[in-house]
């Protein structure tokens, strides 16, 4: 019943960029396609959660966005737990909002520097975004990379919501719906079994997940809007972006250890997506035909200051590539395995994450459209990440990612060796002065000031000559190495 209501049959929608299949159709597409313009906007450590619970950000986050086990339980409880207002031990006596308003704000600014300018040496590269104001050199300052308003917290009773409205330069300067997760939850105990259950309606697969291994919430938590990335991407990675697919699911968390979830996702119509604030036209690459089932299982024991998780999740979809009708569908099967370990004390916080997405693409529709290419392709996205946070204040993260898959002379015609293979590192160092509470006048202020460096070992098929069609022998993977300095403030 719920499922039926929340997801319309065969939503028809258009989507955004970043993606594999589309690039095959437009061989002459500029490098712009490769920019991960759809890097999911992420946000958490919501100050409104802090007001509602009376806790500081450090209760639920090591260094945001990374969740602690308490943060995961808060989310699985549907954002309704309270105990704060007016107002925790360190809180200001602010009688203006009683109960505390579940509203929070985000503002991000960044400076981007490429290892080698996009116009070097031939100058024939197009700028990454028509709205970005990219100078054509290799520096870019964006003082309002993203600004968001959140509703985060209890709505009524056992109903809670995380809703984000975002204005972003990389989102076509449209003010629209970003992440959305509405939950209704309950709990009961039967004998020796504790059950926390919930239903969620959300607007991108894995945004409802509580482990920071999944595409919607994985490291790096913040990237430049002009980040390079591989042209190819798995369906799960690509759909983990606002409103490309909407869905609803039900989950149980048993004895605070075993997690199981079933959900179904469908695509919205292009009109609907535009109304919700997607760039126009929205990217149609992964338009779901009908409903796509999604599952999630995890075993997540905790002991003392340690938390572990090992799990699997996946999604199976019939895809109308670029919303093309009459040619049948591609059958996509994504199966992912993930694991996370945390050691958390008051002083040290170590988080190790691993994620592996295996995708089988049965490209009946695409091969028909293109008149060629492989009938079946595989993509494998492997990601390892380690984070250390000292005293809830200094965060150090290293992430290694690797995308490998079948070579396809049609699909990856732009790539060297017709291969999607890419790999790289992202290092992030950040200073978070207010995880234990902000200044007296506004204790819920939080800020993350950081420097990130993205290093590409391979991109779109190789380490050298990575854009053989548009710019033969002029660009190597490491030219795309990117320095990104950012300020990320929430209040």
């Amino acid at each position: 019943m719920v499922l039926k209501v929340a997801i319309a049959k065969a939503f028809q929608g258009e989507d955004r960029l970043r993606i594999s299949l589309r690039s095959a159709l437009s061989l002459a597409a500029p490098l712009a396609v490769a920019f991960s313009l759809s890097a999911p906007e992420k946000a958490a450590a919501l100050p409104s959660f802090a007001r509602q619970t009376g806790q500081t950000c450090s209760t639920c986050h090591t260094a945001y966005l990374q969740l602690t086990p308490f943060g995961r339980l808060f989310k699985l409880n549907g954002y309704i737990s309270g105990g704060g207002g007016p107002y925790g031990a360190s809180g200001a006596q602010d009688a203006l909002f009683d109960p505390p308003l579940p509203i929070a704000f985000l503002w991000q600014a960044g400076y981007t520097n490429y290892n080698r300018g996009l116009d070097a040496p031939t100058g024939n590269y197009s700028v990454p975004s028509p709205n970005g104001g990219f100078s054509g050199q290799n520096n870019y300052v964006d003082l309002a990379q993203q600004a968001s308003i959140f509703y985060g917290g209890k709505v009524y009773g056992n109903l809670g919501m995380f809703a984000q409205l975002t204005y972003a330069n990389d989102r076509a300067r449209v003010f629209g719906l970003d992440n959305l997760d509405i939950r209704y939850t309950g709990q009961f105990t039967a004998g020796n079994i504790d059950v926390l259950w919930g239903i969620t309606a959300n607007n991108n697969p894995t945004v409802q997940d509580v482990w920071n291994t999944v595409p919607a919430w994985q490291a790096p938590f913040l990237d430049t809007p002009f980040a390079f990335g591989p042209a190819a991407g798995t369906m799960l990675d690509s759909l983990a972006s606002p409103s490309l697919a909407v869905g609803t699911g039900a989950y149980v968390f048993i004895n605070n250890t075993y997690y199981a979830e079933m959900a179904a996702y469908g695509s919205l119509t292009p009109t609907m997506q535009t109304k919700l604030g997607s760039p126009s036209p929205p990217d149609p690459a992964f338009t779901i035909d009908g409903l796509a089932p999604y599952y999630r299982l995890a075993f997540a024991p905790v002991w003392g200051e340690h938390a572990f998780e090992i799990g699997t999740y996946g999604m199976f979809a019939n895809i109308l590539p670029d919303r093309t009708f009459g040619v049948g569908t591609n059958k996509m099967a994504d199966v992912a395995f993930d694991s996370q370990y945390q050691w958390l004390t008051d002083e040290h916080a170590v988080t190790l994450r691993a994620n592996y997405i295996f995708e089988r693409q049965s490209l009946d529709a695409t091969t028909l459209i293109n008149g060629g290419g492989n009938g079946v392709n595989y993509l494998r996205n492997f990601r390892l990440s380690g984070e250390y946070v000292y005293n809830h204040m200094y965060s150090f993260t290293a992430t290694y990612w690797q995308l490998t898959g079948s070579s396809d002379a049609v699909l990856y015609a732009n790539n060297i060796n017709y291969s999607p293979n890419s790999a790289g590192w992202v290092f992030d160092v950040a200073y978070l002065p207010f995880m234990r509470g902000g200044p007296k006048i506004w204790p819920w202020l939080n800020t993350r000031l950081g420097v990130a460096y993205s290093l590409f070992n391979r991109l779109d098929g190789g380490a050298t000559n990575i854009d053989p069609i548009n710019c033969p022998n002029c660009r190597n993977a490491k030219d795309n190495n990117t320095l990104f300095v950012y300020a990320w403030t929430m209040w």
Partner: protein
């Protein structure tokens, strides 16, 4: 947009019909359970509170509120969590969690069971270690304001005993003096034993 609104409305109606939206409006236990676990069996460093003596729970909540209980995790989590408790909530939470059936953590070192049991029941008179049983009872079930220890997690009990020796929770008479005479190995044994007590 109309269609979307329609779906939302339908969803809301469905949710409303699945059960009361306000399931626990009188006692917001999920303010507690998002750290202590669904039935308060403990989670991470948050100790089990299920089956704890209600008077003990009340006393602890009050000492968090007054910021008297000063061990690091109490300061980090509980001072904030308790800051706005009303007397009714204190009593309500205490009664509610005391009534939940406790389950043992079973996370100690099994090789230390015999040693731990011996210390618990007999103390170590030659080292001035008192027998825990005289206050906490034969099954470590506690009484009145004296807490139930049986089945608490090894790590929690060990941390408390260690922290008394590090100078925290000095107001919790007589435990600082009890812990003072315990060696690290004996603390290990006691905490291990207690984690298995039903």
């Amino acid at each position: 947009m109309n269609r979307f609104a329609l779906h939302l409305a339908a969803l809301a109606i469905t949710l409303a019909s699945t059960g009361p939206l306000l399931a626990e409006d009188d006692l917001p236990i999920r303010n507690c359970t998002f750290c202590h676990g669904v039935s308060g069996q403990g989670f991470m460093v948050a100790p089990r509170i299920a089956g704890q003596r209600p008077q003990y729970i009340e006393n602890q909540l009050k000492s968090f509120m007054a910021q008297v209980r000063d061990n690091p995790y109490a300061r980090k989590y509980m001072h904030n969590a308790s800051a706005n408790l009303t007397p009714n909530l204190v009593t309500g939470f205490a009664q509610y969690f005391a009534s939940q059936a406790p389950r043992p953590a079973d996370d100690g070192d099994k090789n230390l069971l015999a040693t731990g049991k011996d210390i618990f029941e007999n103390g170590i008179p030659s080292q001035n270690v008192v027998a825990c049983v005289v206050c906490h009872g034969p099954s470590a079930e506690g009484v009145r304001q004296i807490p139930r220890l049986g089945g608490l997690s090894y790590l929690y009990v060990k941390r408390q005993l260690d922290q008394w020796n590090e100078g925290y929770r000095q107001a919790a008479h007589p435990m600082p003096k009890v812990a003072k005479f315990l060696s690290p190995g004996e603390i290990d044994a006691l905490a291990s034993y207690l984690s298995y007590v039903e």
